[in-house]
């Protein structure tokens, strides 16, 4: 996918989610919270599918790891991050729908784990490991 296609995909799902969220918060619609989060489920589903296909490509015989794509470890982290985000959204919806009597702290644990991981990844990029020449 080109950058424009990826941007368009992200943009459309974000816009639809924001519109649905605003409608729900303003009381214009009485939909279920799981339905409000539908764009998030679809977007995450597409991302997880894309990641799974790319990871499966790594396992094919004759795969050359030097072709410049991120390694399997990085892709595994991406998949974990996606699952953590999905876990956060699911527990948040369950709490908002009063399906589970959970404290917000427990709901936020997957989000915090994901954010910490993202911070570490960004930190590694800001301060790259200095190797001796």
């Amino acid at each position: 996918m080109s950058l424009a296609q990826r941007v368009l995909l992200t943009w459309v799902f974000t816009l639809v989610f924001l519109i649905m969220l605003v409608l729900k918060l303003d009381g214009k619609v009485q939909w279920n919270w799981f339905l409000i989060f539908l764009p998030v489920w679809i977007f995450d589903g597409i991302l997880i599918l894309m990641l799974a296909i790319k990871m499966a490509g790594h396992c094919k015989p004759g795969y050359d790891p030097r072709n410049g794509s991120p390694d399997l470890r990085l892709r595994t982290w991406y998949l974990t991050a996606m699952l953590l985000k999905l876990g956060f959204c699911l527990t948040l919806c369950a709490k908002l729908e009063k399906l589970a009597d959970l404290k917000l702290t427990f709901v936020c644990i997957p989000l915090w784990t994901m954010l910490l991981g993202a911070l570490v990844e960004l930190g590694v990029n800001i301060f790259p490991e200095r190797r001796e020449a």
């Binding site: 080109s2 950058l3 424009a4 990826r6 941007v7 368009l8 995909l9 992200t10 943009w11 974000t14 816009l15 924001l18 969220l21 605003v22 918060l25 303003d26 991302l47 894309m50 990641l51 991406y78 991050a81 996606m82 404290k103 917000l104 702290t105 709901v107 936020c108 989000l111 915090w112 954010l115 910490l116 993202a118 911070l119 960004l122 930190g123 990029n125 800001i126």
Partner: protein, 138 residues
């Protein structure tokens, strides 16, 4: 994931360190929200909860100002002005949304006219701007 870090930096117009700063602010903010909802309730003001986000916006403005001044001194005047304008637009839209949301949460009764469509409207504008910028970057 969907975008590489380089693509994100190009698209959003923020340096990696600024992205780090905003992510860190989001982490602290979410922790404070959870603390307020679960433990402190009314004892912790919403304005205090939003402090990490405001601080990140302030620091980001400061770094952008420094980078723009350096660029200007190195005779990259067009780049300096464009960068400053873009980052200030994004940050001010984000700040307006944060302040309105905070105001709504602080006084839900008095801010009844402040509906969420209005609060989120800066984000809608930001989305359009990001789409235009994506076309240019592409």
């Amino acid at each position: 994931m969907l975008f590489s870090l380089r693509e994100l930096v190009q698209w959003l117009g923020f340096a990696t360190f600024e992205l780090f700063l905003h992510l860190l602010a989001l982490l602290v903010f979410s922790m404070l929200v959870a603390l307020r909802m679960d433990l402190f309730d009314a004892k912790l003001s919403w304005w205090l909860v939003f402090v990490p986000l405001f601080a990140a916006d302030g620091l980001s403005t400061y770094f952008t100002a420094i980078v723009s001044i350096r660029l200007y001194q190195e005779n990259e005047k067009r780049l300096a002005v464009l960068r400053l304008l873009w980052v200030l637009t994004v940050l001010s839209l984000k700040l307006v949304c944060e302040v309105l949301l905070c105001q709504k949460l602080v006084d839900q009764e008095r801010a009844r006219d402040l509906w969420f469509g209005l609060i989120v409207s800066p984000l809608f504008i930001l989305l359009q701007l990001l789409m235009i910028r994506a076309c240019r970057v592409n």
